[in-house]
Amino acid sequence: MTAPAGRRRGGPSHPTAGILRASAAALAAAVTAIAAAAEPPVPSFTRDVIPVLTKAGCNSGGCHAKANIGQNGFRLSLLGFEPAEDHEHIATEARGRRISPAAPDESLLLRKASAAVPHGGGLRLAGDSPGYAVLRRWIAAGGPPPAAGEAVIESISVSPARLTVGEGAATRLTTTARYSDGGSRDVTALALYEAVDRGRLEVDEEGIVRARDVPGAAAVMVRYQGKVAVASFTIPRAGAVAAAPADEEFPAEDFIDRFVFARLREVGIPASPECDDATFHRRVSLDITGAIPTVEAAAAFLESPAADRRARLVDSLLADPGYADFFANKWTALLKNRRDDASDTVSNFAFHSWIRDSLLANKPYDRLVRELLAATGTVVENPPVAWYKRVRDPRQQVEDVAQLFLGTRIQCAQCHHHPFERWSQADYHSLAAYFSQVGRTPTTTRGEDLIFHKRGVAGVTDPRTGATLRPAALGRTEPPIAPDDDPRLRLADWMAAPDNPFFARALVNRYWKHFFGRGLVEPEDDLRDTNPATHPELLDALAGHFRRSGFDLKALVRTIVSSKAYRLSAVPVPGNAADTQNFSHFQPRRLPAEVLLDAIDRATGTTTAFANLPAGTTAVALPDNSYTRSSAFLKVFGRPDGQSVCECERSQSSSLGQSLHLIAAGDVKAKLAAADGRAARLARSTAGEPAQVRELFLAAFAREPTPGEAVAARAWLSGELRGADGSPLPREKARQEQFEDLLWALVNSKEFLFNH
């Protein structure tokens, strides 16, 4: 948390005066070097002036680059991406009063920046600073505009690109820019530095990086003139060498564990031991089918002598229809299967069934996406058409597809080159061009369109230049597409191609997060150069494995849950409690809304009735969001509404309302007290208290009670309940209420509410 972050005004803050002096000297040296190297004494507007303004924060979104209005009448393009516009605003606009070539120091630009006159942004460039000198020399030369044919920046690189630094140690980054004329120069002093994970690293404005005391992987993002580079760091735990986990041998096919444990060794964080059978059973059942084990399944698994019982369990879970229900629930929310009107019901049920059946049949992921992307026809004959019903706007289509299937958030590029991204507006609109020939015509069914390929050459108009942009997918040149060819099929071809850098990685990262609670890249759908994976080799290996398997989703799940990393206990060992990044132990997660409701049903031996669905339909099998509105339980526990393509729409936080709901709400109480529920049945049972208590714990936790728990439970059962008049309650009634109370305590316990 960074609240409340101080306003970044005034000069940079420095950890020590020594470094400050050293950096100031380095900065001066760098700028002098630039001046010497750039021989023509007149600074270039694009190459020299704009970087100074960017470094000083003048053209940030909160100041003069505020969208459409700038600040106090002076407007610059965001981070200087539009030099021609900026030159006009600096040198020509306002009758040219911002620069005074005859008396450069009297220029409004310099007087404001140096706070010689009142400036809302305060002091940005001191009169004796190198940046001030650059601006001054440019103004003295008459403020020349960006030169035509000038060499443009092509890339930047940072050195060192990868480094291991000890806790508290500092290191200096060097940033080099390369230009189209083959030239390069050191821009360390003018580049912008930002720690991707501020908990682990701090970096100052001169590129000096200092590791904090949180071991793990971390990175610094470096930006200069629209180009980005990343320096990756490994921070080993201080004094951890002795405690480092032993070098373990893993079979070649177990690449997950090779990478996870290699990283743990690298950072000196010990792994927790593996969890026990019961914990694994509950965990993997919740993660694959979204359900806790039944009493029978729990008992059978605990009693199974088979050496491969865990592998068999995984196979049976993947064959269970619950797998398809649970993952269809995940995908339909992301694909916005939303009921806004009663007339949506048919299309929603059809779309949900199509996804569920595809998952059940283990349809290859690339085919599933292809059928969705290139859907034509009506929803009745071809259910994936429903996606085009929900996502109508071509811009929304391209943004959803990019984020969901490519792990790329491209929406910023609709309006401006995003500073952390390599995607330009041309990239955005070229990607949108694949959707430019989607035709739709109303059908006789209200709200349902027929989707078809509209004959014609695909293209969209670049809103800035007016030029027509042809389809091109992120960094790829697409050969011309004939008017009769549906461009969406080309997009699907590209996604599934072996050299596609996004498609498989985005999916495996999403699934990794499903099972580990944290993506190899976080957030799971924000894969970009400036947001590196914690385990880049593992991400590549997992993506390659998925691709080579023919995009086999079940095989991917099996590979992940068969790893030792997935089997680690949630209980930390000394040295790994604070680790949330390196998968040293399992991260407990609150059960999602639907899963929790189903778990309470299973534990209490009841079902929940949902409108227009067969009795026994579980909450994870619900087809759309409409049921959330009618269920106080699902609402308060944060079932998503299908509004967004982001899994973050699902609220996994705990709120007061949730706690109060579990403690006292009528629907939970009714389940506990149901006439045919578990408590009532146990009260009537003659199996004997040990067996009855055992059943309760198997039902809630998939394990036997500990001796202490058994004692506590039996003490509860041996108490006596009295009526308001002081006389004992009838035996049967008292007995049932005692079992209800026990069950209430179990489903309210931490162990029940969390997958651990």
């Binding site: 972050a5 604070a578 709901h661 931490k750």
Partner: protein, 486 residues
Amino acid sequence: MTMWSDHGNSRPDPRARVTARRRWLAEAGCGFGGLALSALVAADSAAAAATANPLAARPGHHAPRARSVIFLFMEGGPSHLDLFDPKPLLRELAGRRLPETFGKVITAMGEAGSPLLADKRTWRRHGQSGLWVSDWLPHTAGIVDEIAVIRSCVSDGINHSGGVCQMNTGAVLGGRPSLGAWATYGLGTENTDLPAFVVMQDNDGQVVNGPRNWGSGFMPAVYQGARIGGGTPPIPNLFRPAGVDEPRQQAKLELLGRINREYADRTPEQTELDARLLNYELAFRMQAAAPLAVDLADETEETRRLYGLDRKETASFGRTCILARRLVERGVRFVQLYHGAGSKWDSHSGLEKNHAALCGQMDQPVAALVRDLRRRGLLDSTLVVWGGEFGRTPMSEKGDGRDHNPTGFTMWMAGAGVPGGITVGATDDLGLRAVEDRMHVHDLHATILHLMGIDAMGLVFPFKGRPERPTLNEGSPHPRLVGRLS
């Protein structure tokens, strides 16, 4: 009714019950939470600290004047022209079209060309300050020397959804955190037994946009407002289920504590899991603390009458106003009360009947709240804000109503050192547009945050690679309202 006893004894004596509750709280509630927190504080890592209690109280950017805020939201858009902003010219030109000099006007229902509608009020100056208030608000007229009337408010929302959304979140489109969520994010809470941000409504109508208005947007849900009902029970599921008496409930909680303890013994050091359980613990603590906070039984007869609890028309909003004061007394950071929930103030036709009734419900409780805060010494540290999502047009609609007007409308503030008895800004001669000292919603929000000790530009939540700020990089605190100028 049933009750629980350990060994067939009679009902435990009250002292034993208190002891039992304390023991339970120590084991399953406070003690547990305290332990988790101290473990986190001891852990010398920023990553672990990030999972520490996100609601812990923390200082703002500068010394606050307002420790708490009570935002009285008149949902639907009250008419400034009939309450606080008299326009003699409107009476002169009534029945005619808006003069052409006003230029092109776009309104929600397209009433730009409809005849101007005169107000039917009697206007008087009130208090020592001589502020204008219409006869619809006799009680508010009695507190004008405490309030600063802002006549130049401006919003971008032409319809209810956009207007209510912007007044709550700063943006006309959904998805951003509400002001209360930002304040909670910035300052945390001082009362760990109650939510930091509480929302109440005068009736069960659906406020436009629903819970999104007090949601936390892209920030963690822990900062969202907790809606509690003004009636009984005020908080859903707060009280024990019917048929479960207190000793039995306590015994059940002890059983739960025991099960959790057994688990904790086997799984030590699960700080993250512990941190996530803060809300469960708060819920249990609230079961003890909230009934006191929301129980009006100890309010004196005089206070109850002051808020109008003795009259049917004022009882409902009066109750929420007393609750707001009780919550603020207990350190709740941000309280929002909706009056006219379900766009009741939206008077496209029949404004006379509509506003007469709504003013009758709202006026006395609101004035009582300001007076009561004052006499209890709470007004100096509590900011009271009154207003809706927009005002109404000088043009008529359907003959006797007025259309939406986001281009110039009135809100007021009281307390927290805001100078009383002043008027800020002005609308044009017909009350259509703010022309002097315009206060955009961003300026209002920046002012409120400033009074709470927060610099709106300095409060940052990083989201999707962007530094997000509560007023979208816009707005500034009004110098007169925050006491920089008199």
